[in-house]
Symmetry: C2
Subunit: 499 residues, 2 copies
């Protein structure tokens, strides 16, 4: 047998190479979404494609296979063990896809995103339809290559939320939907109608930014290991754990976009900034899943940032930056206004309560698509029907309907459920946190360190060392349970809408 | 013999790979100098090192050698022919350096830059000395690997200005020096003392930026293929010809830094934006040498941007952005003030006339270092003496003396002469341009298209298709000739200083 120490050393070199590609790919994505000049995009796309292929080659190389085989049963190092498992998963999944199909698919993705943008702008689904049909076919094919136990859609879910299946979602989503639509009905019938007009005062970008930065600092986001930029579609991205960037979008007529957006992305960023440094240069040095990532952003955005305690303690700070019109508005009115519930067509503008319903519309449609239960051409019609069923409103064009999100154009099937899962996880984590600690009191005092430390201790530090459901079960001592989210929303909105 | 068409196709694939690395390395450098958060630098340095090594491996690969050997005499494509010659040059030069020495040297460079920063801050040359000694030794060793005909320093010059040798420099520099120091003496004795106090009005950054952007647009810099950012040490960088970025630095108490700085970097950027698109994805798609690059930036900065015609036509625009104090200052006074000649210690703050003297100080010292004529430890002393000889002033600390520039810390020996060469080239180009066109009139009219087009036609489009001296001789019908610069400076300053 070879010398394990030397083998581990060589293996780490390979991981470092992979990581170098990952970091520049991330930098390139960040740059393309925030800084790149218009005409530079075309050439850059080729560069990104090249780098992605290099990384893919390393992940599926014979060398990688060799390390997996030889080291797997010969290491005592827990990080290396988990790293090997992660590498093996990637190796197996990637090797199952024939190289030429992968190439064609990558090209289809980038072409489809461009077509989708045009289709969305023109509100013309027919333009996008043939591309979406091909994307669905590829995803079905890949799902079959990867394999699954019960439902073909499980194979795609696995890419974003390992351990979560159609069975799980079909258990929790209907229950959640029922509770949310009941609550929505009560709210629609309530006599309380918070005044939303106060939200739309002209609020200069620079002032919104200054306030957002103050809040990010209070959250513990480290600006020496990150930065805040502007973009059209906000995101957080970790280049390495000392370079975790966030982006936001400013609407000078509606400060909520930037204020809650930066808190949300700040939540993502705290996850990546607080990973265990020993995971650096391994594929474990990132959030364990899309759902757990979203639980962190939503924990901060909703459970902290939209709480009454948060605004009671930060309203003076807010008013110091905000336009004069807020001067005479009591914090209670302000709190109610930023928590108005109102069904709307665009997912990313949805309120806390109706948001999960948007996700369910998408989940049911993509599950049906992948299972071959509905053809792509019926999507616009089905979308509008479901929106009407779940939210009581109907898009007048496909731009506000089936064409609104980029995910399918990028081939991301199985991704949407993470948003709702993350929300349920967040509520469940909030419940666990609140067993020993008074979150309201902490928020009122304005020093969020106990929250940040708790999240770091139980979630952030692990990166991919723990699977998503492992984290949830370890921290909350139960399985995924939608009741916590329902209870949270019920309590909150009963108070606001005097139900 | 193999099918040439297929071979060329494969060769182009290899070039594309190299180019992808070049583009991300450039992006990474840009990011590190403009955007990266403080703590992200360490990890990023490793990533850059990795990418540089990958590129180096491709440049020196057996595959590359194969293409060079097989294709060289079997292609009719002029671009491929010149590309092969460029690849062969890189192959030969890089292969001559043993791999482990290259690695050690790269590590020494990055370490030395860090030490230099500390030494500069503390004005403590002794800290930096041992590193500089090693850097000099490596460069001597490399120069011997590469080979040279007359002077060992020629081998280093070749990296930055192929075709230019010590013999050339020792012909033109003394002549130039004599003329400049004579002119300087006249100026020092002149009764005309332009009032410089007007330059230092507080000038808000945003206004300086707005004015600079207007000038860049007038120059023809394409913001759809570029962007302007802030940095400490301004630079221009071409990621690809549709993504050529410039950076600048704002001093709110001295607008000259940003205004002339952006014109300078804009001149570099125009070069890269106007390359022949057929050169994309070859190593020819960049400026042909440091000297020719500098000729472009200096052409715009000095021959356009510091001319009387420029300020006569742009002074109203300037005053629209500038603080009120300029309102009552006649353009003649303003023109004289931005052209004040005054020997100073810091190269990058030097005026047009004394700038080449700074370069000569460095050239003579590094030539002596590489030839083993002076030991590193004597540098501070020799530097101060030469400054006194050439400029009549002496640094009081090494921070303002031998430690001011980063070049040696990065191992860049042979680079400095490019700055003075670029200046002489620019004057020679200006002379050639002025034979058929009236540059003053064009500048006065404010539409610089004839200038931009002429530079594009004679210089920019070629990229590395032509060698630096080939360009100069083709355009000006003579060899490098310092007289044009001397005449330009003499005429200009005779008028300003009434000599």
């Amino acid at each position: 047998m070879e010398n394990t120490y030397l083998l581990e050393k060589d293996f780490k070199e390979l991981l470092k190479e992979q990581n170098a590609y990952r970091e520049v790919i991330s930098l390139t994505h960040w740059d393309m979404r925030t800084k790149i000049p218009h005409k530079g995009v075309e050439q850059r796309s080729e560069v990104v494609g090249f780098l992605a292929e290099k990384l893919h080659q390393l992940e599926t190389s014979e060398k990688m296979k060799y390390f997996i085989d030889v080291l797997k049963d010969n290491t005592d190092d827990e990080i290396i063990k988990k790293t090997l498992a992660e590498c093996e998963k990637n190796y197996e999944r990637n090797r199952k896809i024939p190289h030429d199909e992968y190439r064609e698919y990558v090209m289809l993705q980038s072409k489809s995103e461009a077509v989708w943008q045009e289709a969305r702008q023109k509100a013309d689904f027919a333009l996008f339809q043939p591309y979406l049909e091909q994307l669905v076919e590829y995803n079905k094919k890949f799902a079959n290559y990867w394999g699954y136990e019960v439902n073909i859609y499980d194979a795609l879910l696995h890419n974003y939320e390992p351990g979560v299946t159609v069975k799980t979602l079909d258990r929790v989503f209907p229950e959640l939907r029922k509770s949310l639509t009941d609550l929505l009905e009560f709210i629609n019938n309530s006599n309380v109608k918070p005044d939303s007009s106060l939200l739309t005062a002209h609020f200069p970008k620079e002032d919104q930014k200054a306030f957002s930065v103050e809040i990010l600092k209070k959250m513990g986001y480290d600006f020496l290991s990150g930065r805040l930029d502007e973009t059209i579609h906000p995101f957080a991205i970790g280049l390495n754990l000392n370079d975790v960037r966030i982006t936001t979008r400013y609407d000078e007529e509606d400060f909520r976009m930037a204020v809650f957006g930066t808190i949300h992305e700040g939540g993502h960023a705290l996850y990546e900034q607080n990973l265990n440094p020993n995971l650096v240069n391994t594929p474990l040095a990132e959030g364990t899943s899309m759902g757990i990532h979203e639980s962190q952003s939503l924990f901060w955005e909703n459970f902290v940032g939209r709480s009454k305690a948060f605004w009671e303690s930060n309203y003076d700070l807010f008013k110091a930056y905000a336009p004069d019109q807020f001067k005479n508005i009591p914090v209670e009115d302000f709190y109610q206004a930023v928590n108005i519930v109102k069904p709307s067509l665009i997912r990313i503008e949805a309120d806390e309560l109706t948001y999960p319903l948007h996700i369910m519309v998408r989940y049911e449609l993509e599950k049906a698509l992948i299972n071959g239960d509905v053809p792509v051409k019926d999507l616009p019609h089905l979308w509008n029907e479901k929106m009407n069923d779940y939210l009581g409103i109907k898009p007048s064009t496909d731009r506000e309907g089936v064409l609104q999100d980029i995910h399918w154009a990028g081939g991301d099937f199985g991704y949407f459920p993470s948003y709702a899962l993350g929300y349920m996880y967040a509520a469940q984590l909030n419940n666990a946190f609140s067993k020993n600690k008074n979150i309201e009191k902490i928020i009122t005092l304005g020093d969020y360190e106990p929250i940040r430390n708790w999240l770091k201790e139980h979630i952030h530090q692990y990166g991919k060392m723990k699977k998503p459901l492992e984290i949830i079960e370890d921290v909350t001592n139960e399985q995924l349970n939608p009741d916590h989210l329902v209870r949270y929303l019920t309590n909150k909105y009963k108070e606001i809408y005097k139900l």
